[in-house]
């Protein structure tokens, strides 16, 4: 068997007779037993990739295998080994939570008794026992996502595709889902996750690729991506813009890179974090300039994305997640 759970080679997918190029030759290898991230803004091709890997859509060219089975030539073998849960929580509104799971279990051709036990177990595990016999119509967004994930897990697949699993969720529901996903990976499941939340990729994904307009623009571990910026960010906030202006003159040469001043906040990209911070503090103290705050932080994936693409991840704001992002801010 292949060493990778999922492999894609040069996958191209066009729509409207080639007018729209959703994927322009994407190759990736997902190692077993970890969370692999596809990171990118709306329209970058993440969902198209997941649809191809889960046999819903055929690639225009290129090939992909899941557990060694070709997604085009052996779709049924692939379908027996995957679970799919997504952004739109495709559960049946007119059924109860339990009925949804029973239906998916039966369509997965599982044993009846097993289905009953598994459905009950999953509902309990995801905190849906009390709502098990209520119509899904009455469920909150977070409950639907958990049920959707439960449906994807009915056949206990070794590989799970999660297409923006937390888009549009409140912070608590998001945390809950993260914990569930981490638990699954501990249990040996391979997860391929798409997200536009850098924080999510950072927290969950061991390796990730960054997609932009259908092409991979960066890949590696989240740590590797961050070190592409090669430094730590020293952020100093002052009580006034006048103080900030004085401060930046005093500490400018602590870093070889130019300082970034925004209002009362001065940010420096430095090599040795703590030493640079100590040096900055000594100089400011000697000149009697008071600080309102000091933080040392690693560059965020937002910084990474900005430096890779030249545009922020928020640029494409026309998406179902816009409100979610606002709610988060």
């Amino acid at each position: 068997m292949s060493e990778f759970a999922v492999e894609a080679r040069d996958v191209v997918r066009t729509f409207n007779d080639g007018d729209v190029q959703a994927l322009r030759g994407v190759s990736l290898r997902v190692p077993r037993g970890e969370v692999f991230g596809l990171l990118g803004p709306n329209g970058s091709g993440k969902t198209t990739m997941v649809r191809i890997l889960s046999t819903i859509l055929a690639p225009t060219s290129g090939s992909a295998t899941v557990e060694g089975f070709d997604v085009v030539k052996q779709p049924d073998e692939v379908r027996r080994r995957i679970g799919l849960a997504g952004q739109y929580a495709t559960v049946d509104e007119n059924l109860t939570g339990f009925e949804n799971l029973r239906m998916i279990g039966s369509l997965n051709h599982l044993d009846k008794t097993f289905v009953l036990g598994r459905a009950k177990g999953l509902l309990e595990e995801f905190g849906l026992s009390d709502a098990a016999n209520r119509n899904v119509k009455t469920y909150s967004g977070g409950m639907r996502r958990r049920l959707d994930l439960g449906a994807a897990l009915m056949a206990n697949p070794p590989i799970l595709f999660l297409d923006e699993p937390t888009t549009g969720l409140d912070p608590q529901s998001r945390q809950d889902l993260w914990t569930i996903i981490e638990g699954l990976v501990e249990g040996g499941t391979t997860v391929l996750l798409t997200t536009q939340y850098l924080e999510e990729a950072d927290r969950l994904c061991k390796q990730l690729v960054v997609l932009d307009k259908g092409s991979i623009i960066a890949e590696g571990t989240s740590q590797e991506l961050k070190t592409q910026l090669g430094a730590t960010v020293l952020s100093l906030s002052f009580h006034s813009t006048a103080d900030a202006a004085r401060g930046v003159e005093l500490i400018r040469d602590v870093s070889a890179k130019p300082a970034n001043v925004e209002g009362t906040v001065v940010e420096l990209t430095v090599e040795g974090g703590p030493a640079a911070a100590a040096e900055a503090l000594r100089r400011l103290d000697a000149a009697k300039v008071n600080l309102a705050g000091l933080t040392l932080r690693e560059p965020s994936l937002d910084d990474v994305f900005l430096s890779l693409t030249g545009h922020k991840t928020d640029d494409e704001s026309a998406g179902p997640d816009t409100t979610a992002r606002k709610a988060r801010a």
Binding site: R51, S54, T55, I56, D76, R79, R80, I82, L84, G86, Y88, T90, D92, E93, N94, L95, E99, M103, I104, S106, L107, N108, H109, L110, D111, K112, T113, F114, G117, R118, G121, E125, N135, A151, A155, N156, I180, G183, L184, E186, G187
Partner: protein, 273 residues
Amino acid sequence: MSTTPDVVHASKSALRWAMSDVLTIARRNMLAIIRIPTALVFSVLQPIMFVLLFRYIFGAGAIKVDVPGGYVNYLIPGIIVQTTIFGAVGTAIGLAEDLQRGLIERFRALPMARMAVLAGRTVSDLGRNVLVLVIITLVGFAVGFRPHGGFVNYVFACLITLLFAYCLSWGFAYIGLAAPNSEAAQAMTFPLIFPLTFASGIFVQVSSMPGWLQGFATYQPVSEVTKAVRYLMDGPNVLIPNAGNSIWVAILWSVGLIALLGPLATAKYKKVA
């Protein structure tokens, strides 16, 4: 994370799995029909309204059909055909909704039989039509319908109606898959369903229509089916002294329609989902 039990797959032949998948989907659709009040109103209340409308308003004097037992004996077999055909609108709406909500995508990523989504949908609509037939028969009797054809022929007539409506529903499945959303699907069905049911012998005699319409109204499939159903339910009378070829024509239309529409809908399903 608690430990996951070992997955137990059941073993059945491919054909039995396909049947099981069709029934699973059909059962899920039936539950939805029962639980959505609007769907229930659409499929049950509306035909009853049609019976009352034509029995007591249009049929009280405006429509003249001279058969033993009066207009009600002419009307009820027609309404039975009309209602089962209207049921196909539900096929289009149901599929458009499933598509819109992404459920069909989920089904496509499951190791289930490909044809089960369409077959399950048409089978559940067939089930609903059986229910509606029973209700219309009861309501018909309540408003004075006294057919002369005998019980066996009555059941035979119902089977022909159900067969025709089932075969036709594959065409409406195609519409449901082609429509951008369920509202559009519903809108797209009406230009088809109105001429088929109203420009037919369902409510009035074709001979009372303008000449240019009579050709279509006489030979279009719904009129043929209605003629067969009416003959079987009410027996021979002055209007329909013998069945002629209408029973065979109704069956041939059904078979012809599904032979054409079945592959068409299946191809569309493969393309859109």
